[in-house]
Symmetry: C2
Subunit: 375 residues, 2 copies
Amino acid sequence: MTETPAPFTADDHAARMRRAESAAAAAGLDGVLVAPGPDLVWLTGYRPVETERLTMLVLRPGEDPVLVVPALEAPDAARAAPALALRDWTDGQDPYAAAVSLLGPAGGGTGRYAVSDNTWAMHLLGLQQRLPDTGYVSLTESLPMLRAVKDAAELDRLAAAGAAADATFEEIRKVPFAGRRETDVAADLAELLRRFGHSQVDFTIVASGPNGANPHHEPGARTIERGDMVVLDFGGLKDGYGSDTSRTVHVGEPDAEERRVHDIVRAAQEEGCRAVRPGAACQDVDRAARAVIDEAGYGAYFVHRTGHGIGVTTHEPPYMVEGEERPLVPGMCFSVEPGIYLPGRFGVRIEDIVTVTEDGGRRLNTTSRELVIVD
Amino acid sequence: MTETPAPFTADDHAARMRRAESAAAAAGLDGVLVAPGPDLVWLTGYRPVETERLTMLVLRPGEDPVLVVPALEAPDAARAAPALALRDWTDGQDPYAAAVSLLGPAGGGTGRYAVSDNTWAMHLLGLQQRLPDTGYVSLTESLPMLRAVKDAAELDRLAAAGAAADATFEEIRKVPFAGRRETDVAADLAELLRRFGHSQVDFTIVASGPNGANPHHEPGARTIERGDMVVLDFGGLKDGYGSDTSRTVHVGEPDAEERRVHDIVRAAQEEGCRAVRPGAACQDVDRAARAVIDEAGYGAYFVHRTGHGIGVTTHEPPYMVEGEERPLVPGMCFSVEPGIYLPGRFGVRIEDIVTVTEDGGRRLNTTSRELVIVD
């Protein structure tokens, strides 16, 4: 078992908040508004439960960060982020008054702010109603790469999460598949992820036979049979950072077409990973993987983008998708996960997390990408 | 153990969608937009994972409901809500185009829509950018009582969830407290809630000694000592409906002031429950409980509203708070949970879920509200 890494410090969080403020200023924004969720955890270390009560970090270039917080939760916020100035509000007060007083040049309310993606619409509407001349744009749209480049401590965590997911795969390939339900194998996956150090399991896709043709299949009561292809796609958070890997296994010996489709996906995944290098566009990774599948005649059956970033969440920028022209930068981490989905028959997906290095890419998942035969 | 209730049917969901459409029309709205979360579950039975990919139910009076859904997730949506028309979009396409085409009179984009509270800001901004002349208001603000009045099948589920929480309390009062950490007792609570049928545990507050003075204390490493007051506040979802109850226990014999403060909170909770009857205003429940605490001289230490609604979430309208003048209606369910919090010393909170009947209120939690002595 790996040891628990040292937690991020108040200095780490202060540096991240300054980075966000600088990025906002460079983008012509007056600040960044952050509700509970992954951005708030990354910026401050504070992880409150999301509720209807307004909690919002207000970052403005040249000003000290302020956390608007329900009075009820102020003690927890102060403990989690002792260096942060708090502005609390009490049940029955207007929660937006506290936030509004901080916005705009001198609180004038004509500024333009980035808002964390998962901020509740009710809170954004609360601000918009009180400050109709203030503009808002989603954080991902305005500063998409804010969290995209990981530092060494973050890469260590992502690598450890990847290693834990790999250890999970090495165990799951030994369990019986035939005669058990998808939900049984999914429960095994969750148990293994936790055993190998995950604090949170986000998904445990077990998509057998025809269910494999649905990329986001929810494991169900279907009993896995000998002769099934089974897509396994699982991940979660370990020490605050994400894992996400997919392997497709076969129960007993595959037939020639199953082998062929798996080989195509494996080659596509290989080409996608090979396209990873500093300066390449995100869409180049998608194109490289997709070209292999297109050329093999299965292009119509690869129905999703090739990958997504990963960090304190398991889905974040950068996205490896046609139209995403931003360049890869060393330290970025994302999935490369092409697939082929044959409706009514079976699916294949192979997925590794890859990080951009100085001269290429490095996989954080290293289990075999051959077609593994299970019982 | 109670048996699992029959799931809600497509007809139940259709009736709820019609209710929402009628309420929207009555409020002068052109429709209701619902993202993944409790409102979508309640309206359709569909419970997708929240992601950056747009999923949105569009309800318009006089039109059939349409669910905008990522193509990836369309099979799961079709299985969960077979009667619902789907409009899917594929990675790389503009997800908002699909939604925008449905909005406004004849898609003209000048309408006014309610948006579910927890819709991601990025999605609301996506709609606002494409249809700047369309107006939005939060669902809770515009139709606060849409889910507030529960029908008989919902009341049965809430009562069963309450009974499971009560069974949890009857067991937790027997476990050792002194010498164990708050987190140990919290783990016991979670285990018991699951044992008594909860599928999801939302909170297990164990706030001992001075930690009890923080109403939303997160259980921590503090070792519980003889002589501590301990606030227990726990709940989650059973068969899709919420539980939430608080009791304050004492490790060994309490002193006179501890007894006195507990007696005051108990009397306040009793008065709050007595104020529950059809036609009374929500704020009357808050006032009734608060008056007892004010008169006893502890008014400054009751720092939160008296209660919140409960249903498919554990926090929803109606809120029992000063300024909420809407009337209570039979079938509403909410918490009555006054407390006194003495900084640096201890806290007391007593909480039951109460439902409004034809002539008063009925508690769904019935464990003793006396000060229970634990070991």
